[in-house]
Amino acid sequence: MIVLLGAFALVSLVIPALTRRVGVRVFFITAIIPAAAFIYTLLQTPAVLADTPPTETIPWISQLHLDLSFRVDTLSWLLALVVTGVGTLVMLYCIKYFAASEEGLGRFAAVFLAFTGTMYGLVIADNVYLLFILWEATTVFSFLLIGHNTGRLASRIAAMQALIVTTAGGLVMLVGLVMLAERTGTASLARLVDLAPEGTAVTIAIMLILVGALSKSAIVPFQFWLPSAMAAPTPVSAYLHAAAMVQAGIYLIARLAPGFAETPGWQPLLLGLGVFTMLVGGWRALTQVDLKLLLAYGTVSQLGFLLTVVSFGSRTAALAGVALLLAHALFKAALFMVVGLIDHRVGTRDLTKLSGLGREAPFLATVAIIAAVSMAGIPFTAGFVAKEAVLASFLESASAGSALGWIAVIGVAVGSTLTVAYSARFLWGAFARKDGVETVRPLHENVWFLSSPAILALTGLVLAPLFGTIGTVLEGYSQQFASEGYEYSLKLWHGFDAAFFVSAATLLGGLALFWARTQVFSLQSRVPSLVDSNKLYRSGLRTLDRIALRVTATTQRGSLPFYLTVILLVMVGSVGSTLALNRTWPDSIRLFDSPGQLAVGTVMIVAALALLGAQKRFQAAVLVGVVGYGMAALFAFHGAPDIALTQVLVETVTLIAFVLVLRRLPARLGKAHGSSRRVLRAAVGLSVGLLMGIVAIVALGARSADPISVSLPELAYEIGHGRNVVNVVLVDIRGWDTLGELSVIVAAATGVASLVFLRSRTDNLPRVSETRARGTIRARLKPSREIVSSEYLPGVQDPSTRTAWLLAGRKLAPENRSILLEVVIRLLFHPLIVLSIYLLFAGHNLPGGGFAAGLVAGLALAGRYLAGGRYELGAAAPFDAGRILGVGLVLAAGTATVPLFLGADALTSTFFETTIPVLGHLEFSTSTIFDIGVYLVVIGMVLDVLRSLGAEIDRQREESSESLESGSTI
């Protein structure tokens, strides 16, 4: 069985490619697989009869109780025969149905075959989750099949509808299955039915499962998707909507009925819905003018009928139910194929336009009649035998005094009357000669085309007398139900019993109804349709869309302040409420260690508050800076000169970057919003601040253990050979963090550059061309890529006649120059660089370190830029910032990696000390190499910021002002 399923899957995959070669004949190939499955199932008959169901199991995901287990008992056997047999015939039918030029043929054939395989798997699956998998797979394949005519809006909507309705049902079912499997501890269908657990949870689970089954089988209130699905090509309707998919729900209910028919609510619910569906479907079928729709509503009606019978829960009803299932598959698939033929040959399925087709196409008409009489349940047909059994069972129950039995009898009788009427209408509509309608002239077709429906119809005819034998086979299923004290067997003729009289009455009634069709028609137009689920579905979707829009419009404002407010409010709400619940408060709070802290703290708070009212960007930047310098002061008060120094440098560089950026922004901050919002935001901000303060008090007050930092100085000196704890922590103990932060710096610098240069930054080193350079500094400049033209800015003197303190000072307009600044920078630059190198190497034992050192060097460069402009920067640092960043990162990451090759952990440092004459005692730790990496990365970053936010923006401004000027002169 599993091999067969594999074959289905594999062949489906190659079909599209194959179709390109062989065209429509590909259906011969696809027919082979279901045919093989059919034959294989037939070969299993002895085992099934002997009540030793063949099983196959491949364990799959045991944690989820999901195994590939299959089991062919009587019910599965019957359905397997139906789905594979009808499947084979429909495939053969496709050969003639589709033109070779049909669009998407390969896709269709592949999906169709896959569907057939899934259906086969579905009816033989024993694991509930496997069943669900296949169940949903049929949904998806049917989505693709219904939407085959992709260009038509109607097919797309119908496909969507079928998908949504059946998936919705399926998911509800899944929840039920999970409940059931969880409660019983088994996922085997057969075991579940054997165990037949009870209880509220089981009842809920069963109800959920039923929702899935009912939606699949198009039972009210889910019936609407089926008629819409008629947008599909006819072979799809013949297979999915007659023999296969829609029967899946019925199959599942039949499968569960032996164990769960006694579940509270099962009988009244299913019987009610079944009868109702049967009546609604039949009633609607009577008014259809499209033959296919007529059959579709007929199918809805028949599904209701089937549901009524298989859910009834008595032994005879069960037997009747499976017989009816077989009969229905045979005649309904045949009839759909007949409609397809009519459509093909005449070009219409509208019964008001068809006239005299019976005479023109006698064989077709014969096949249709054979199938239709079975549908109507005329004596000596398969449909009749099944219906007799149904009525006998229901009458037995009714005569035993069961109210449900009476409802069933009456419902089925009325429903059958309608069935007879619409069967007659179908035959009349398709084949009869009608007054005032032109006789159709059908195309002639190959007899082959007719073979599939003919075989099905004739099978129904031939099987009818054999139903006695078939009945004994099917009893394998029905005997799972408790005996009712009498044995009913399927027979072609039971004599003139009560069931026959009911049957006969429905026949006459139905014919009468057909006779009076005009009156019926006018009556129907006056009776409003009771359940218009289609409308419900559509308005449901519209409501969903509307709700979705409203919810999304409320939450997704596209406003950053709104998002931040929400985040902070969540924080205030949640952290605030935990604080409110908190009962562990510290006994005493020490507000400050020294008055200096108090003073600095006050300044910081005032600056932060002033920031809220800042009107200009520059003002805001400075106030942020004040807070930052205040932080540095606090570090200093805590006895951390390193951190304080670094913080001061960071603040300075940040301030410079800010100022550089601000040149491109409007001076004033954006317009203030209304006062209410400002109040809200201020309130939120203040609450967050207060909250953090209180949390800090609580958290610090709760400490009982010693912090790990207590041991750090000792560790740093003993193992790290450094007296500067901060530095050893940064480059060694927590060097891994530093390495990470280096990559942050690299990424940030790269990002700033990428935003300003957009394309590539490597080609933008501004330099003064060598010929104009002066002195030794320029001698080492490589030929520049950006040659500055000889046109100088207005007011700049010819460089040859001037000497300047700074190289590129001559590129600046005089009003932008400051001689004093140039002089100071010129004097300070080299000492600063030397200082930075000192800080770099001293850092291990004294305040300093790569980070601070890099910042100092960066500040020196910033000074050169501020005093001398972008050309000065190019001269001072004629390197590609990206490359400096890269080299720095390589050094740092390399220091981390090299120890790995020496068999140590990453970042392990090694310490050397030696005494060299003249230089004296030297100590060197490999972590210093790491620190050099840090140094380079920091310089690279500052350089990148200066290049992009400084130099490049200068250039862009000059360009735009030049273009502005040239524009004005023209």
Partner: protein, 518 residues
């Protein structure tokens, strides 16, 4: 093995550095990036095997003993995440190589793209191995700063705007996370996770709760948990397709991973399980409603991303080994499928020139392969069996049913409904893009009028050819996503074992402190 652990982080970092020095040689950069990520993928696989057979690994970086130095921890969950992330990063990289070659690097200026991408990878990998809360923060910073650069690549106006939202919100989340770390250090005097779990347990429950909530808010923003998720759909979709793919696939999952560590190791008492479950339900439902209302595929997918974070929280909130196993499996599934969908969207965008659902049509005829490449992950995300999305949901439902509380059943119900809505939103989009005729597009009644589209851009007829590399990378991802079903058994075994490992901190503490703590 410990060397391999550090290499997972060091290799991409060295690669980034090397790529930076080769700014003028895009081919060399490409080679570096591809080989580095391939190497990490192999190392990750080796780690996974090693950890699965021999138990978790703890590495003391620089030889500094825990808790003083930084410790890296690889257990099954970490190793699994590394493997999946490396695979996804590699596939997306290859995809963007294809796109870059074809577009003349319009979307992805190579000289910064590859180094930044590798830095992003560094951050992601480091987050998965961090055994130190502050180092975890550093990991987040690495990946976030790299993502700031990637999201604004090209510097177009919409990207800058999206980038602003993204960066500001991320900074706020980082600040909250940092504050939480400070408070936790304040209360316990350590940031080593294994030691934290011991010391935090000694604190009064009410103080634990305060710290717990703060930490979760920080991670919740990164993981895009409702109502901290609004920023995501306004930022992710604007980035270039491969960038969005990797963001959507990975970044939020790093947040979810951090939440798992928080709930299972740092605060293992399950104080907030109920809250997590409620938030999970809201995230699922509100998120998917957003998806239903979208008319742009990228935005639509961003909302499904948020929505499905809810499923993972569901598994975490159940707080059993089965729930964790389900969440773990779901994370793996979701990383794969969400990335695949965004890559497929990238193909659609390339082929059709837009991601507006209302402007696309008739693509089944022009690009049948893309239709398939979109359809399979669509079903997968919608939880249609037999794909991994279904298996993940089934595992979650079973774990929920096993828990049996009313709230768990509500979550199961929400899970089923959200699954349906996901399918609805995606299938509708798919049928419009691929099935609808191109001619129909022009006068189509627009059911999704969420945002009036400015201007009447003409219907896009597919003219461009799509590079094989891009399609190939997408095919590879679809294959991986299908492989998750085929190899679901070992994956579930792994997830189940991971679930048992991380359910309760004892295993973790013993890994870091084999000789016991203090």
């Amino acid at each position: 093995m410990s060397a391999l652990t550090t290499l997972v982080v060091l290799l991409p970092l060295l690669g980034a550095a090397a790529a930076l020095t080769q700014a003028n040689r895009p081919r060399v950069q490409t080679l570096i990036a591809v080989s580095v990520l391939s190497a990490v993928l192999l190392i990750g696989a080796a780690l996974l095997v090693a950890v699965n057979t021999n138990g978790a690994i703890a590495v003391e970086v620089g030889g500094w003993p825990a808790p003083y130095g930084i410790v890296l921890v690889v257990d099954r969950l970490s190793a699994l995440m590394i493997v999946v992330s490396a695979a996804v990063l590699l596939a997306v990289l290859v995809f963007s190589v294809g796109q870059g070659l074809a577009d003349g690097d319009r979307e992805t200026p190579v000289s910064i793209y590859y180094p930044t991408y590798l830095i992003l990878a560094t951050g992601v990998f480091n987050a998965f191995v961090a055994g130190d809360l502050f180092n975890l923060y550093v990991s987040f910073e690495i990946l976030l700063v790299a993502s700031y650069v990637l999201i604004t690549v090209g510097g177009t106006k919409p990207r800058i705007r999206a980038g602003t939202v993204y960066i500001v919100v991320s900074l706020v989340s980082s600040a909250i996370f940092l504050a939480a770390i400070a408070m936790i250090y304040g209360a316990t005097g350590t940031v080593n996770i294994a030691q934290l779990t011991v010391r935090l347990a000694e604190l009064p429950a009410d103080i634990q709760l305060i710290l717990h909530v703060m930490l979760l808010i920080g991670f919740g923003i990164k993981a895009a948990v409702f109502p901290l998720s609004f920023w995501l759909p306004d930022s992710y979709p604007m980035a270039p397709a491969p960038v969005t793919a990797v963001f959507a696939g990975l970044l939020t999952k790093v947040g979810v991973y951090a939440i798992i560590r928080t709930e299972m190791i740092i605060f293992p008492d399950g104080q907030l399980n109920t809250v997590l479950l409620i938030v999970a339900a809201l995230t699922m439902v509100i998120g998917i409603l957003g998806a239903v209302a979208q008319s742009d595929i990228k935005r639509l997918l961003s909302f499904t991303l948020i929505s499905h974070i809810g499923y993972m929280l569901f598994g975490i909130g159940i707080d059993t080994a089965a729930g964790l196993a389900a969440a773990t499996f779901y994370i793996v599934h979701h990383i794969t499928v969400q990335t695949t969908l965004f890559l497929a969207t990238g193909l659609v965008e390339r082929q059709g020139g837009t991601t507006g659902i209302n402007k696309l049509g008739g693509m089944l005829k022009t690009s049948p392969l893309i239709a398939v490449l979109f359809f399979i992950p669509l079903l997968n995300l919608g939880g249609i069996p037999p794909f991994s999305g279904f298996l993940g949901k089934l595992a979650l439902f079973e774990a929920g049913a096993n828990n049996g509380s009313v709230l768990a059943w509500v979550l199961i119900g929400c899970g089923a409904a959200v699954s349906l809505l996901t399918l609805y939103a995606l299938a509708r989009a798919w049928s419009m893009i691929f099935w609808r005729d191109a001619e129909e597009v022009a006068d189509y009644e627009n059911p999704l009028a969420m945002r009036a589209e400015t201007g009447s851009s003409p219907v896009v007829e597919s003219v461009r050819t799509t590079p094989r590399i891009m399609v190939g990378a997408t095919v590879a991802m679809v294959t991986v996503s299908i492989a998750l079903t085929v190899f679901a058994t070992p994956l579930f075994d792994l997830s189940a074992n991971a679930g048992e490992n991380i359910n309760g901190p004892a295993y973790y503490v013993n890994t870091v402190f084999p000789g016991g703590l203090e």
